[in-house]
């Protein structure tokens, strides 16, 4: 390890929480998806750091599975973005409150 694991984990946590803040604070659906991307990358960095710390390759394999998961998530959620923009004409999350959650 070139740096202590705690520094890698702190960096990953900072990245994760920036993405979380983006998801919670922004109201544009595209920006929410970008926040999800940032969060997933923070988690991936934690996996790779742990993989280097324990000298095991499993963490890296998990990151690759995470990438496949992300591409599936992005493809389907961008298709929903296209659907909402065409049918409803806006992408502000506050306008979709039919369920009164």
């Amino acid at each position: 390890m070139i740096v202590p694991l705690s520094h890698v984990l702190a960096f990953a946590a900072a990245m994760f929480f920036m993405g979380l803040g983006c998801v919670l604070a922004r109201r544009n659906l595209i920006m929410i998806l970008i926040g999800v991307e940032v969060m997933i990358n923070g988690a991936g960095l934690a996996f790779v750091g742990a993989s280097a710390f324990w000298q095991q390759i499993n963490g890296q394999v998990l990151v690759v599975l995470l990438m496949a998961l992300t591409s599936a998530e992005v493809s389907i959620s961008l298709a929903m973005v296209v659907y909402l923009q065409r049918r409803r004409g806006n992408l502000e999350a506050d306008n979709y409150n039919e369920m009164h959650g």
Binding site: M1, I2, V3, H7, V8, F11, A14, M15, M18, G19, G21, C22, R26, N28, I30, M31, L33, I34, G35, E37, V38, N41, G44, L45, V48, G49, S51, A52, Q55, I57, N58, Q60, V61, V63, V64, L65, M67, A68, L69, T70, S71, A72, E73, V74, S75, I76, L78, A79, M80, V81, V82, Y83, Q85, R87, L91
Partner: protein, 172 residues
């Protein structure tokens, strides 16, 4: 040297992410996010994961971000602005981040970090990686491939043009 480079790249990624999540224009956010992913790929390489680093660039920065840009352009989501003159307040951060990233990669390529005792002892070669992925995690690979197939079918279903119009008595 590798330790210093690690902290430089980590702060680059953090600054790029911070700039990304605070942008109003989604195109600018995507450009900053590509910078952050590039820095993350270099970090992955330094942590002994060269194959994951390559895929980070190819899949995240290459495919997914281009998909985002494609959707933003297709739906005209970015605010229309006049052709911007070279404006250092706008171009400065991204040029600085890219400069840091390019010089870090050149440094990583030119200096043999292993000779300086900088790189950790752990290094997962692509051969080892593929062996683990397809031997121990074969079931996971199958499940993920099914998931990708379902996602493709679902995206096609959600994105089709004739929603509800082709069906008689269907829900509108």
């Amino acid at each position: 040297m590798a330790t210093v480079l690690f902290y430089i790249l980590a702060s680059t990624a953090l600054v790029a992410t911070l700039l990304c999540v605070t942008r109003r224009n989604p195109v600018h956010a995507v450009v900053y996010l590509v910078n952050a992913f590039f820095a993350l790929a270099l970090l992955f390489y330094m942590l002994g994961a060269p194959l994951v680093a390559a895929w980070e660039v190819i899949i995240y920065a290459g495919a997914i971000m281009v998909l985002f840009l494609f959707i933003i352009m297709m739906l005209h989501l970015a605010p229309v602005e006049a052709r911007p003159a070279p404006n250092w307040r706008r171009w400065g951060p991204v040029l600085l981040l890219s400069f840091v990233l390019v010089s870090s990669s050149v440094l990583l390529m030119s200096v043999d970090t292993a000779a300086h005792g900088g790189v950790g002892s752990f290094y997962a070669s692509p051969r080892q990686f593929g062996y683990t992925l397809f031997k121990e995690y074969a079931l996971a690979v199958e499940i993920v491939s099914f998931q990708l197939l379902f996602a493709a079918v679902g995206a096609y279903f959600v994105g089709r043009e004739d929603w509800g119009e082709g069906r008689k008595g269907g829900r509108k």
